[in-house]
Subunit: 414 residues, 2 copies
């Protein structure tokens, strides 16, 4: 018998009527003969409200109490979905994280899953019982306290539970019908992808496509759990397709480039006339690392005179001020002439597992962008993606140019 | 070292500002050198909202899921109070019912406490840790599921925890400053009682004084836990007094009558010309008992002819229609001429442990009411109370008359 995990996010369980609709999706799968475990998020807005209570209670709050508080939202959704499923005539019961148990470490607020005992859920299947699981949460065994997996953590709960119970697939129901070649709000010709590899999805998720929590894709990749992203707003009786996130070998025809992502969460810092000598990079980047500031793109160019260089790099926008202050503090130790910063920059990336076997993919992009007058401030590349840092004003132009360049545009309608 | 349980109800933790105020009451007790366990209800309105979700999900919902859902409200308050106490510099942690554990039977929705392990809470006291406990909830050990103790159950949680950890007293913080000789909205001369016995409080609670859940008083009486009802709206630095609910021997000077209670939740049924023969009472009251209808006052009077009697009794207003239908169904079996009903009746009661040793207490009342032209439809008495059923229109007059009669009126101000 095939076994399925179905995960419903906040907008898919926003109220009792939406929960009833989610139950109809569950009904379809159960009636198709599948053993089903459902993982639910809190009703949309609830987690934000609970976080706001914590912030109102204390500016710096205790994270173990934060977890006890915010994990409560999912309990309500799980109970309500179980009630609705029982009302429909199914055997169903809710599971809280500690009841399964889903064990985690004690990193409250962003705990990592240590192990899941799937036995009780699986034995429920023998009684045709649908397991309705509160996502986002777990139990730290040694302290006996409730933990949470961080925002978006219900995706990770769902994938980890799918691995623990040996599910054939994990369906992620959300408010969009899959993963697109680019953001449809920017690129009107963006297409839904039928399939995408875990590696590509990881790059897309971390580059700003917000469909799935990055960690859930990592867990799915490690445990080879097929993920299917689909819409809960489809007619439950006749659902449309979605996007399957799977192993490379499950994809017959590889595209060279699968998608174009972009991130506005970038800020650029440039140190002018840094002495061109060993150890200077460490002097710059060690203090930033110690302050937990994530440096992304780095380029170094020879400046006007030959004894110094200019060093440019990017940090998340939220860390810009802190990074700038650290570098100004250490001006003497580093030795630079001026420090320049820019926040109106954007990182545009092309992702495709086919890049591994095709050369010159990025070079084509540099030429196409130059032809449109888009100035490239920095470049990074990996095996399956490349990124360019450009002025924010050129975002749409650059994303659309690359989308067309790699043949991703949808065929015109009609 | 003295040990205290402090319980805060819904209006006392209605928002983060009120929770901060509750924390100041806790601070006062801790700084006075007491070991403190705090029991909290859900923020006011939250439980009603969760119950409404259940009702919307299914007309007849699963009670184990109902419990999983409604118990979540208290988790939020407990976590927030712990955060606030830590912010104030105290060691504090929240406890969910299953973490203690507070064990119950599996009567979901109205579970009874089976046992509480106070060890973890007491060992926290050794680290000067304040225990902040989510009220209203427990764990059924065999199924591992969350249970709740019924509406108002946090009072019972608090008293049972006080017994389990050997607390010297259990303070119930609410939105009134104690137990009154009568409802101050009706009797403007009502006074706050300094002390009242468990037995009197039980009668008052079940007769319509809504300060405390009845079961919490029962548990307190059995385990000899002194209960102190007081206001959370007092200045935490200089709190006023409240009402101590305690053993008879802790009350030096007994009043004959301690309070006048009344309940509008009464409906009267009268069967005219019932055959005056053995077995007729059983024919009437057995079917009602089987339908779980609680019959309260019963009087039987000889009617016009001597072979039949009239039987009058009361049921809760909510059961009036059902009781009437049952009796109409059985008209043949019982054998009566007519069935009359009245819903505009009220039960007025005088309660006082001193009645045990004073005779003629009720007789004085019958005379005083007759003097005011109040017609008495039925009477019941017990060792420490008597009740009269009268027309609802005379409620205020009767309650005030008895309040004055037994010397309960406050001295005029000024």
């Amino acid at each position: 018998m095939s076994r399925l995990v179905m995960k419903f996010g906040g907008t898919s369980v926003a109220n009792v009527e939406r929960i009833r609709n989610a139950a109809r999706h569950v009904k379809r799968e159960v009636e198709a003969g599948r053993e089903v475990a459902v993982v639910v998020s809190a009703m949309s807005g609830v987690t934000n409200e609970l976080v706001a209570f914590c912030q109102e209670a204390a500016p710096i709050y205790d994270h173990s109490e934060y977890d006890a508080i915010v994990a409560s939202g999912e309990l309500v959704t799980a109970g309500l979905l179980a009630i609705v499923l029982k009302e429909m005539g199914f055997n169903a019961r809710s599971w809280q994280g500690w009841q399964i148990p889903l064990l985690t470490d004690d990193a409250h607020g962003a705990a990592r899953i240590a192990g899941i005992d799937g036995a009780k859920i699986i034995s429920g299947f023998a009684d045709k019982q649908i397991a309705v699981i509160a996502g986002f949460q777990g139990l730290h065994a040694a302290t006996g306290r409730v933990t949470t997996l961080g925002r978006g953590g219900s995706d990770t709960s769902a994938v980890a539970i799918a691995a623990a119970i040996g599910a054939d697939r994990c369906d992620i129901y959300t408010d969009v019908d899959g993963v697109y070649t680019s953001d449809p709000r920017i690129v009107h010709k963006a297409r839904r992808l039928e399939r995408v590899t875990f590696e590509e999805m990881l790059e897309m998720a971390s580059l700003g496509a917000k469909v799935l929590q990055v960690r859930s894709v990592e867990v799915a990749m490690v445990h080879k759990v097929k993920l299917f992203v689909r819409s809960s707003f489809d007619d439950p009786a006749k659902p449309n397709s979605g996007t399957l996130i799977c192993d490379e070998e499950d994809i017959v025809e590889q595209q060279v480039v699968t998608g174009i992502a972009f991130s506005r969460d970038e800020a650029q810092l440039t140190l002018r006339r840094v002495a061109d000598k060993p150890g200077v990079a460490a002097a710059i980047f060690m203090p930033l690392a110690e302050a937990n500031i994530n440096v992304d793109m780095i380029i170094q160019v020879v400046s006007d005179d030959t004894t110094t260089t200019d060093i440019t790099f990017t940090v998340p926008t939220a860390e810009f001020a802190r990074a700038k202050a650290i570098l100004e503090d250490r001006r003497g130790a580093i030795g630079y002439a001026t420090l320049q910063g820019a926040q109106d920059v954007v990182k545009v990336s092309a992702i495709g597992i086919g890049m591994r076997s095709h050369s010159g993919v990025a070079a084509k992009a540099f030429k196409a962008l130059a032809d449109k007058g888009v100035n490239i401030r920095a470049i990074t590349t990996s095996e399956i993606k490349f990124s360019v840092l450009i002025d924010e004003a050129y975002t749409e132009l650059a994303v659309r140019t690359l989308h067309s360049l790699y043949g991703l545009d949808a065929a015109p309608v009609g």
